[in-house]
Structure formats: C-alpha cells, structure tokens
Amino acid sequence: MTMAPKREDYDVVVIGAGPAGLAAAATSAEAGLSTLLLDENIGPGGQVFRAISSTPVTERSQLGADYWVGADLVQSLRASNAEVIHRATVWSLDRNLDIAVSIGGASAFVKAKRVILATGALERPFPIPGWTLPGVMTAGAAQTMLKSSALVPDGRTVIAGQGPLLWLLAAQILRLGGRIDRILDTTERGNYFAALPHAFAFLTSPYFAKGLSMMREVKAKVQVVSGVTELAASGDGQLASVSYVAGGKRETIPVDLLLLHQGVVPNVNLAMSAGVEHRWDDLQLCWSPVLDASGNSSVAGIAIAGDGAGIGGANAAVVRGRIAARAAVEALALATAAKLPAMATLRVDLARAERGRVFLDTLFRPAPQFRIPSGDTIVCRCEEVTAKDVLDSVAIGATGPNQLKAYRRTGMGPCQGRLCGLTVTELMAQARGKTPQAIGYYRLRAPVKPITLAELAAVPKGEADVKAVVRG
C-alpha cells in the first residue's frame, strides 16, 4: 500500500512518531495547522511505545503501565486532523524546509513552514571484541521483538551493560517466560559517588521507586554480577561464549545470545544533514543539538523535540513535543495558541519530567573501556574497520572523522556512521589529545538513508533541473 502525502505544502511537518512526534503532531493539528507526521516504522510509538497499536502482548502488566501511556497519545493523534504516513523514510531535509520522503519505493517532496524533528535516540555503540558476531544484539533489539512480536530469548542468554532500559528489559523478558542466565553490570563503582550529589532530585522522582522495584524483581530470579570491568564475545561465525572480568577475576561462560546496552544517544543524522548545529555533551558523551527553550535549532524553522534534543526520557519527550508544537502555533497562527496549554505550564511539566536525569546520566555514564576500543575490535561495523586501523590512520596523518573516510571508509557504509560515529570521535580525540568537540563528527548529507538510483532517477524533473547537470 502506497500512500503519498495529500498536499505539497504543510504548516508543520513532524518527523518521527515516538512520544515527542505523537504529542507534537496532535498539538499542532489540534490548533488547526495543516500537519503531516512522517514515520519510518510500521505503526506509531517509536521505540518506547513500539507496536502500541498492534502488540500481541495482551497481558498488560507484563509491559508495564508506562508503556500503555502511549495508547493515549495515539488516541489524541487519531482524534486530530493530522495526516499520518507510516513506512515513510525521510531521506532529505534542507534549510529551505524542503523534505524528500521515500514511501513504497517512490519519493515524494513536501515543503513545510515549520519542521519538528522527533527522530529520537538510538543505542550507544558498545564496541567490545566480538560485538559483530551473530548472536550479539542490543538490548533494545530484544525489546523491539518482545513488544512487536512477543518473542523472548530461550537459549542461554546474558545481558550486559548498564542503565534503566537494561533492567526494564530483563523484567519484561522474565514476565513473558523468557530466559536470562546472567546479568553483567558494567556500572563503574566510582559513578555511585559521583552521582551522590544529585541523588535528592532522583529520590524524589518517579523513577526511583519504579527502578528499585524492577531491580528487586530481576535480582530475585537472575544472577547479577556487578563491577564488570572487561567484556568480550567470541565464537567462530556465531557467538559461543562471553568472557568478563569482575573484581579482578576472569570468567568465561558458554552463551547463545548476548544483549548489550549502555544507554541511548540522540539520532542526529537528519538534523546534522540539515545543518543544525550540535555540540559535544560532556556528561551524556554524545552530540546534542544547540536549541532554545522551545526546541528551535540553529536553522530557522527547524525545531527538535524528544530524545533527539538530548536524552531526557519518554515523559520529557512528550512535553518537549508539545512545547515545540506550541512554539510553531505561536509563530504561524498566534490567535489559536490560546486553545493550547500555556507555555509556562508546559515548562513546569518539563522540569518535572526531567527531574532526576542528571543522577541517571552520572550513575550510568559508560566507562572509557566500553566506549573507546583498542586493537582488533571492530569500530565501523559496515566497513569492518578496527580500532588499530583508526589509530594507524591517525599516525600517518588523519586528523578527524572526515579525513578518516579517505583513509579507511569509516562511516561510509549503509549505516552512515550511526554505529561508529561516537566511537570514531572519541577514539581520535584520545589519540590526538584533543576534545571530542575539537575533533568533530562526520559531515552528514542527504540521502540520510540509502535509496536506489532508480528511485532517484524517477523523481519528476523540470527543464531547469536537467540544465543544471547537463553540459553544453
């Protein structure tokens, strides 16, 4: 089924149907603005509310109350006049707010007065030895299968890493009857002290009680090894064992499935390709866009909401979506903004939703050895470039991620740096004694997702377009 956008121009185009995008599109449409929501997935929800309208997991308590909140957001969106297209991959966005989107193998072009990017987050790369072996996946991947297809691990399964998602996933797998043999917690001991000054805000946030009860639920059923300082996967063409060091002792265990997780980072590709300025965030160890209090970026007309604006979690994403949409309404149709919750109210909501975040960021700040690999460990999964390859290139003159492309093709495979970019930046920064900010990031360009030449060639073109590329 192919469903092209109904119009060529919209007041607001929202990209991504996760918590921020759902809230932004509903708010914008409710205020009477022509609104288009484009999303790459089969249905609404993004990652946190994945398959919210279709999940085969019918026993609601297994996914938890926080998941089902997503159903209300989808209902609000459906009650609005927003046009929604799924399986729509946006591959270009520029400073003129022209958008190219691939739907069912054909590209369509729309123009927006305002764009709200709600492209969310992806899991931080976890470049350990053997992380490309079949049988090694992200924790988020397992959660995606659990939510959308009620699939759970049933072989020997190890979950390794740190962060709230890891515990949530473990609890959900156990509730659905899946198997977990061991959890390897890589949280650095020193982080507990570093996080202490921020503990009060966290203790008084809703995360605290929920997190604690989830950890208790999991620890009652699964062996948890804390203080893991080294981690490696091995096998011949298929994961066979996991080796780790905890408390100075090495242990190797046979395993069929290893699920890795060390937090999430903004998915920056579309925003960066549009020219949105990003800065290195020293606490969250990732690139975050430079935004004003309403989510407006350095490119006029483009706002960013949700985790793509800096990791804040689902509750904050919803509020950021509403704030960005209200700002769009104020800019385009001020009179109708009165219908919406006041900006001051939304900002109070946001402060509440972000409460405790600094504590989580500090406690679950991933350790250097799990972010900056060495030796034969693969950095760039697509082009199969190792840490040693990167360092050798630095030794003969590669100065940053963009020069490195010419040496090793890092970031030039189909994932376009999504799985190696942060690693390359930090690895090169360390090797050259510079800050990640000074080293920089890949220069990203459209198409931000691969499309076929046939699809490009089929794009309607006028005489001027042909003249621009044909000689003579």
């Binding site: 279709s54 992806l122 996946m137 988020g140 991947a141 995606t144 699939l151 799985l419 691969p450």
Partner: protein
C-alpha cells in the same frame, strides 16, 4: 535464540526463505520472522564475507540487509511480512538487477 510467547494469537502468514516455507505471524517484521524461524539466516557482509545477524532491529545498523521479493539490500527490520513473500538471505554485496 528466540521463542514465541503463548499469548501471541496473531494469524499466521506464510513466507518463503530461500524457497522454503516458513510460518510467520501477521505484524512480524521480516527480521523478527527470520530470527523466530530457527533456521540459519545469517547473511554475509559485502566487505569480508563475515556472517552477521540483525543487531539493532530498529532501522539504524543495516545488519539485517536481505533480498525481499527480488530486491536486494532491504532493511528486514522495518519491512512487515506479507503472505507469499519471497526472502533470500543475502550473501555479500547486492547483485546487479536485484
């Protein structure tokens, strides 16, 4: 590696993996159906031929690349299964004409 929860009551959808009939469920992505099939569905990479399986399942890693109904390099994790869909495990680069 993965099993289906008994509460899953979705209707079956028949797909073909390298010509062999496989029972998927309505709403599965191609990658989820492959991982649930208990078959060896490892692709091999274009660069070294190393075996891989899907890693992220959310459209960012491209380790799920697969040939679907004759079109190569599709992201199996964002394409839903359909009755009669023909899936080929991709070995190496996408072939010309596929």
């Amino acid at each position: 590696m993965f099993k289906r929860s008994e509460q899953d009551k979705r209707p079956q959808v028949q797909i073909f993996v390298d010509g062999v009939a496989v029972a998927a469920r309505q709403g599965d992505t191609v990658s989820a159906a492959l991982l649930a099939s208990r078959r060896d569905v490892r692709r091999s990479t274009a660069v070294s031929g190393a075996p891989r399986l899907p890693y992220c399942m959310m459209g960012v890693c491209f380790d799920c690349l697969v040939t679907i109904d004759g079109v190569g390099n599709r992201q199996g994790c964002i394409v839903p299964v359909a009755e009669g869909m023909q899936i080929e495990i991709q070995k190496g680069k996408r072939e010309i004409g596929k």
